[in-house]
Symmetry: C3
């Protein structure tokens, strides 16, 4: 049913986006059209990546998921960077981290918990991810803010580049660890069984590649014009750049992924739901963000790895909360509610900041 | 024996408090009288609540404990708010959090550990509480301080109100989770047995209600006059408002509860001792404090949810320390000493700040 | 083989250090000579302490290790304090904490992990240490920075002295706990076996005492002259005091110890490797540093317990990362790489700060 909805949205959304962008239709209306269209396109990119991943086998498949999983966000961010909107890009990545850790995991735990009294997931995976979350968000994001206070712009960018390269190298090493050297080493039998289901690809290799290419091109086109509407939309609704980036862009870029995590939780496949929420967070923090820092060197406005304090405190506390709630490998509706409550508090904060 | 002492203290303290307040006896002497009287009255409120809780059954009993457990603090704080002493109220709630987490738990672990080599408590309960401590103290208290730096007073109060409502809703949800939907689900058999002892109420329903009402009225009377002595006492001893709130008011408001936690630890009933220390912390942070923020709207000086940095850092580090020491479900004298040492360091700090 | 190298280094390094210091040879060359000589001498102090510890039995042996384990650092720091280089001393202790937690543990996990797929260590010990790390680094180091912002110098020193005494008392209590009241209580059998090997002392009591005395005197002599070269070396290479302290002095003071931790990891004796890394961190934070604060009262420039924010954030995040990676009692090459990546990021930061 959701598939049909997304298909209709794409068939209507893409033409309207093209016509509207050419004839300069009102920005606020087009903003809504662009957002819905991207949400629908993202679901196609997700399904195509998944099908390809199954066809290609676990190793290359894992790599594909790890690279294309946040392709939509990467594309929107590149066009925002090109337009010089550095602080919106950083904010949207903050929003992606908060959205995945608090909103997606929170909804998954809550909705799953309404149906099942207790749901369990792989505790070794949760601990492995906890270490990476602390590394990426607490070490790699907080250090530059604190250290660069007395640095000039050049030193700040050099430090940002150094940290970005370290993050990407560690991200690649994490893939090597997970898919090659320690594949299955830490996986308990019970959970290994669960994740082996559903290995039938929806589309063949050719169709998947075609959809992936077409949807990616369409997302790129729509994103470029979406970015141009931020200015008018912000002024119309009284939203700050921080709020647009953290709440709006982050939700649009991740909506399809969010929906599938919640559906997995409802089917009691918590390992998949947690993998989507936390895996996606790590991908944004350790791959998409540092890649954007490096790509920004090609544009006029380079992007240092410096978040605002509200962004940093939100991400750090979200990480600590998530780690504390998941390190027993067990979730329930209340765990979900705690995460959602944290998202509400931060959302309120960013609205007024 | 302690019961007799408290009875004598009430029988002497209440009349002296009334006479002294009418004839304006010296503030420093009356400050000591008021403090001792409140400590004794609090023990009666505690016992009456406990008896009622047993009579009413576990669900309503749990709710009763969760509401009246910190009644004394709530009453003192309301009178302090009425007198416009906003920063003393916030400081006394900080003191209550620190006192419960470090002093009460520390003394319990230390005293219990002198008699028993290792003492154990319910690890699931400890983890559940750990998540709530991080949510309340780290997310809900740190976020407003960081976010409101650039906000005006009105926006600061709106954010404070929003967070307070979120905290109370989550506190009620936590009670629903603990007493209704997941009652006993996470409790190991061993610990379930332990907590089922001592189910005989000390007083009948009638007597308990009578004592509760009388003691509450008396606490209210004494608290109103206690608050008036802070100014003179602070100047006489050279204590700052922060120190009076954090160390003095917090200890007075919690002394009776503190004593019973330590006694429970000495009897090797660690689940009860930990429940008093951590449960009381959560009640203050998620119910008393946000309720006071909302009640403050009725008074001339409204109270935002903004702590000072020394208060925040103390609470955050106390929470992290407590979580780290309890997440193995095991305590000993050294764990207690670590918590007490942290309390000493913070006490020293607040004395000079 | 490494023993021979160190013997040669001492036989050549000590005479050159003496001659060079008398004839005022170029500072940069002498800086290198002094550093290498101290590294070699430290290995002799380490071996002598170890031999004595075995001869004297576990209790006094433990005490010996706990006191002389960081003797070299203590000596260098005393001479730096005497020369008024307060911020270099604090920086070198920060560097020692970071070096032990990230570089030593990181290299141990990484090198050990290249040979063994999974390596395990005592989880109870790891948790016990985690509590102390949070106490020492997060409570005792962060509190004074935040609280003293509004204090004058006298109040700052009083608070620093109070915290230092608390730290030393708790350190002694930790030794009492570990070697007397709870010796073996928390140790799993498997790990108790592992640590009982290699109980043959390399040197007899007499030779060990002689070597210890001679090497300590030599380290003292060389350290005194090493400190004098910092100024010229810093200017020549463009290194800040912070960088010299955190990276250079810390590595020199701990190099021998670092090497033996990595060797132990390669032999799959992870308990020993972790004990060296974390035990040494705790010794510096809870004994060497507070002792230096107290000793500084004898010199003209007294040293408060106030680190810079970059130092504090680095230590706090290093502690959180280490705790998260070790609280499962299991390590692998990737855990090591995460710690090393954090060290690289902080090293980059301190270079530019």
């Amino acid at each position: 049913m959701m598939d049909k909805l997304f298909t209709v949205l794409v068939l209507i959304g893409v033409p309207i986006s093209i016509i509207g962008s050419i004839f300069h239709w009102p920005a606020v209306i087009m903003f809504i059209v662009y957002c819905l269209t991207i949400v629908a396109l993202a679901s196609f990119i997700g399904k195509a990546t998944e099908s390809l991943a199954i066809v290609m086998g676990p190793r290359i498949g894992g790599l594909l998921n790890a690279t294309f999983g946040n392709a939509v966000e990467l594309i929107i961010s590149i066009f925002a960077l090109k337009a010089g909107l550095v602080s919106i890009v950083l904010a949207s990545l903050t929003g992606s981290v908060l959205g995945n850790l608090l909103l997606v995991a929170g909804l998954s735990f809550f909705v799953g918990g309404l149906k099942f009294k207790r749901q369990s997931f792989d505790i070794n995976e949760a601990r492995h991810n906890a270490g990476l979350l602390i590394f990426a968000v607490i070490v790699a994001f907080v250090i530059p803010e604190v250290f660069t206070r007395t640095m000039n712009d050049r030193e700040t960018m050099i430090l940002s580049i150094g940290i970005s390269i370290t993050l990407i190298v560690l991200y690649l090493a994490a893939l090597l660890f997970k898919f090659v050297t320690h594949r299955g080493v830490y996986q308990s039998e019970h959970h290994a069984d669960l994740t082996k289901q559903d290995e039938e690809p929806e589309w063949g290799k050719g169709k998947a590649l075609l959809v992936l290419t077409a949807a990616t091109v369409a997302v790129a086109y729509v994103s470029e014009h979406l970015v141009d509407t931020f200015d008018v939309v912000g002024k119309t609704f009284g939203w700050s750049e921080l709020f647009i980036g953290i709440i709006i862009v982050a939700i649009v870029g991740n909506a399809a992924e969010h929906a599938s995590a919640v559906i997995m939780a409802y089917k009691n496949k918590m390992d998949v739901a947690v993998e989507i929420a936390v895996g996606s967070t790590l991908q944004v923090a350790m791959f998409v963000l540092p890649l954007l820092v490096l790509l920004s060197l090609l544009f006029t406005a380079s992007m240092p790895l410096i978040f605002t304090w509200p962004e940093l405190i939100s991400m750090v506390t979200a990480v600590l909360l998530m780690i504390m709630l998941t390190n027993d490998g067990d979730s329930n509706w209340f765990d979900g509610l705690v995460l959602l409550a944290a998202y509400v508090i931060m959302g309120l904060g960013f609205y007024f900041v």
